[in-house]
Symmetry: C2
DNA sequence: CTAAGTGCAAATCCTTTGCAGTAAT
DNA sequence: ATTACTGCAAAGGATTTGCACTTAG
């Protein structure tokens, strides 16, 4: 099944590559609908699935019931804000991170691993700020904890 | 809202704790339906959500569109077979794995991390065996690669 | 011309929810 | 008696799919 050019597919991939928001299908659709009024959501889904198959896009996972995608396909972890659903890239894994591989002896039976997905969950800066305002304790919370101080798993 | 006893909830949690299969709601429902014929799927979903809130169960993630759960709530990575959807526990993370934490400097803005989820994707032993049979190249593939030899990410 | 791609709407599938009845405290 | 919990069925929301039409090659 040879591939033919389509302006929709082209636009969808460009949209994916133009953002760091790790969008879902609906977001892409909303973004493109004004410039391609005939576009349908089904077409967005169909083309994303093509991209996934050919590896030009990867799935970050499902956030609030919606699958989110990333056109940066080199393996790297993501962070998800549990409050607003924002997804952010984490700096690509360093060599230190290889120690995160499962210990060979611990692998069940003949399981062969293809790839790993790591996602960190927490609260993003903006949502944390909102929490502080809503809590109406500006003076106490104004003192920022040093970055990473709670980065304990 | 104080909690009342219910035999359904009790049975659902026991079922979750009695298996290593990381089941989804439907699996639990099917397992319990014979002994509790009145059970409804909605009740399974409602109670799982209670368990998630109180932390007596965690979500492993979504496999083939279905959310899968684990009653072993200490943080540990999982493996998912992309072929059959089987989910397995990995030995709990060792101290070496702390290096998997994102580097503090790399965290975007004021993001605060609560927890991490790591999932390894691959092919389980049984599915690999099936592939070998279907490929009808038993002699060549009978020579097993040493465990972990393909554990490269 | 012919095979791939699209738009649309219907269909799926998992999950949630409203409501009336049931059971625990 | 009060309030939580259940069963049922309907509703929801994301994703897929069948089909007739359009478009690239």
């Amino acid at each position: 099944m040879e591939r033919k050019y389509s302006k929709q597919r082209d636009a969808i991939l460009k949209t994916l590559r133009s953002t760091h928001s790790h969008p879902g299908a609906q977001w892409i659709y909303d973004k493109l609908k004004p410039s391609i009024p005939s576009l349908s959501l089904g077409t967005v889904y169909r083309n994303i699935n093509l991209f996934l198959e050919e590896g030009s896009v990867v799935s970050v996972g499902i956030v609030d019931g919606e699958e989110r995608f990333d056109s940066r396909v080199n393996p790297h972890p993501h962070m998800v804000c549990c409050r607003c659903g924002k997804v952010a890239d984490l700096p690509h894994q360093t060599d230190r991170d290889r120690s995160c591989e499962p210990e060979a002896g611990g692998l069940p039976d003949g399981f062969v691993i293809d790839y790993r997905k790591t996602v960190y969950y927490g609260i993003c800066g903006e949502c944390a700020a909102v929490s502080r305002i809503e809590a109406r304790t500006p003076l106490e919370t104004a003192v920022q904890e040093p970055a990473g101080s709670r980065t304990v798993l």
